[in-house]
Structure formats: structure tokens, C-alpha cells
Amino acid sequence: MTEIELTDAQRQALQAEQGKPVDVVDPATRQRYVLLAREQYERVRALLEPAGAPEPPEATAEIPPGILRSQQAFWRALPELLRHRRNRGRWAAYHGDEQIGVARTRDELIREVLRRGVSSDDYYVGRIEPQDQAPWETIEVEPIHARDVEELPPDS
């Protein structure tokens, strides 16, 4: 966020308003602004920012780099894999950028991964189906669960 220093007149206006927002006008454009304390801005910030703004990355668990690289390789290859109808519903395994194979079951691929001695943090097995979200992306889950809904007695 750009930082601009207050002028003396603005500081005096803020002090006079005792913490309330102050109207500001740009004399050149007549555009109006509101000057408010940082604490007040933080309270309404979520309403002003566009929906879907990225969350701070530290809130998420970090995918091991080898798995992430393999997920990215699978995601890049998925359109081509989907072009072949016989692949639909099958599974594909990636070790980094290398394709380990395509098989009818995931078990076959995991056996092959283990046979090659690939580390558990270095591969990904994905299903060859049209998908609208990359394997590493955060999945939004509906927060309300039936189990949490209590039936309340009617107001007396």
C-alpha cells in the first residue's frame, strides 16, 4: 500500500473529529475520499477487497516439492491424456516430469512406483478425468454440516 504523509491541516482535522472519519476532496477532480484510522480500516477491509483474494500462504500446509512437481507434470499432461478416449477413467503416475505409466487401477501404478524405488515424497498418481481444479490447489468445502445443526426449541 502506498504511504502518504499527513499535512498539518489534515492532522488538525483528524484531531478535531476525535477518531471519526474525515471527508477529503481532491480540488482538481472533485473526487471525494474518506480519511480514517488504520484500526477502523482493518475492520471493514474484508468488505472492500475483491472476493477470492488469496489467503496468506503460511496458513496452508506445504506440499513436499517432489509431490508438487509431479502434480504439476500430471496437470500439464492431462489435456493430452484426455484426448485418447481409452485413457478416460484410468490413472497416470508421475515422478517429477517423468511419466511412470498409465493403468486401469492405481494399485498397478503404485506397485511400479515402489518397484522403481521412488521416494514417497516424489510422485503423484492422478485419475484421467476432466477436472476443473489442479491437484495442488486448495479445495473449498461447504462449511455447514448437518451434524452441527441443533434443533432449537421454539421461542417461548
Binding site: E55, A59, T60, A61, E62, I63, P64, I67, Q71, R106, D107, I110, R111, V113, L114, S120, D121, Y124, V125, G126, R127, P135, W136, E137, T138, I139, E140, V141, E142, P143, H145, A146, R147, D148
Partner: protein, 182 residues
């Protein structure tokens, strides 16, 4: 193949389920299934894997969600043993997605108990399972088996609201016939 066969649910409160000595309440309209959780590279079903109840929640948009303490105490697994695939975000909070398979146990026909003489069905879950921290608010009292797990595995779910019974089966000639008739 039938997995759930006339599994009953109730519109009233039913007796709680006891899991590892702890009594877990069951609310009206909750469909209770029995599941196990295992690592994805397990070659076949291991009968030593513990089974525990979960709610079949078609309103849940993910595959399977479980709290960390349930995963440790009920499934006998530590999250650190399961590969990390990404995250989910629920109510503004992030929870990790770990690679794991859910094994869904058949029920004794017409009863809520699991049928011990049949192998469970493995549900491979490409996006993994979500593991809630134990400080999640509100903490889940039972794990949730969401609609995505059924969809990913092409399962056929029938709920008879009149008789309060549930069927779940893998695709076969019956499901094709039902689809053709509907």
C-alpha cells in the same frame, strides 16, 4: 455388488455408538456407515485395520473428513504417515489433505452393524482425505463420508425416505437397469 443393504436410519434419536470405549451420539436423520482408513499403497485389505463409524453426508462436498484425534485413536494412523497432497478450506480455515484410501464396510442386511464376514470396498480418493485439527471449531463428532467419495468411485446410492433405508452398490446390471428405467 451391494455394499449397503437396507441400512436403516432413524428420524428419532437412536442409542449412541460405542467407539473404543467412547460413546458417540447419533442424531436423527444421520446415516451411519462403518469405514476403515489405510495408506494408499496398501496392496490389499488387512483385517487388522480398525473399523469405526462415519456419517454418510451427501451434502458434504469433499471426499472424507476426519479429525486428527479420531484418525489416531479410531483409525490407528498418524497424519505424518500419510503423504500431503494439498489443503481444503472450510469456513476460512485451512486443513491438510492427506493421501489415504477409505474402506467402506458392508452392513448386516437391514441393520446398522457392519458385516464382518465380507471384505470392505476400497474407495481410492484422488484428492485424499481432509484431516481437521483438534482445535477446529466446532470439532466434528464423527468423520464424514462426502458425496465426492461416492462420485469418484461411481457408486449407486438409493435412499428410501418412506422406509428410512439406504442401499449402496457398485455399478452392475441392476444399476444399469435402474438407469434405463428412470
Amino acid at each position: 455388488m451391494k455394499i449397503l443393504d437396507r441400512l436403516p436410519y432413524s428420524t428419532k434419536s437412536t442409542p449412541p455408538i460405542v467407539v473404543r470405549g467412547r460413546s458417540v451420539p447419533v442424531k436423527p436423520h444421520q446415516i451411519i456407515v462403518w469405514v476403515s482408513v489405510g495408506v494408499a499403497d496398501l496392496p490389499e485389505w488387512d483385517p487388522r485395520m480398525p473399523a469405526f463409524p462415519a456419517i454418510l453426508d451427501t451434502g458434504n462436498t469433499f471426499t472424507f473428513s476426519i479429525s486428527q484425534s479420531q484418525l489416531i485413536r479410531w483409525a490407528g494412523m498418524r497424519p505424518a504417515l500419510l503423504r500431503l497432497l494439498g489443503n481444503i478450506r472450510q469456513g476460512g480455515t485451512f486443513y491438510p489433505r492427506h493421501e489415504a484410501d477409505v474402506w467402506l464396510h458392508p452392513n448386516a442386511p437391514g441393520r446398522r452393524d457392519r458385516r464382518a464376514d465380507r471384505k470392505p470396498l476400497r474407495l481410492p480418493l484422488e484428492r485424499g482425505i481432509a484431516v481437521y485439527s483438534d482445535t477446529a471449531s466446532p470439532p466434528p463428532h464423527l468423520p464424514l463420508l462426502g458425496l465426492q467419495a461416492l462420485t469418484e468411485n461411481a457408486l449407486h446410492l438409493t435412499i428410501d425416505g418412506q422406509r428410512r433405508l439406504v442401499w449402496l452398490r457398485t455399478p452392475d446390471w441392476r444399476t444399469r437397469l435402474i438407469r434405463w428405467l428412470s
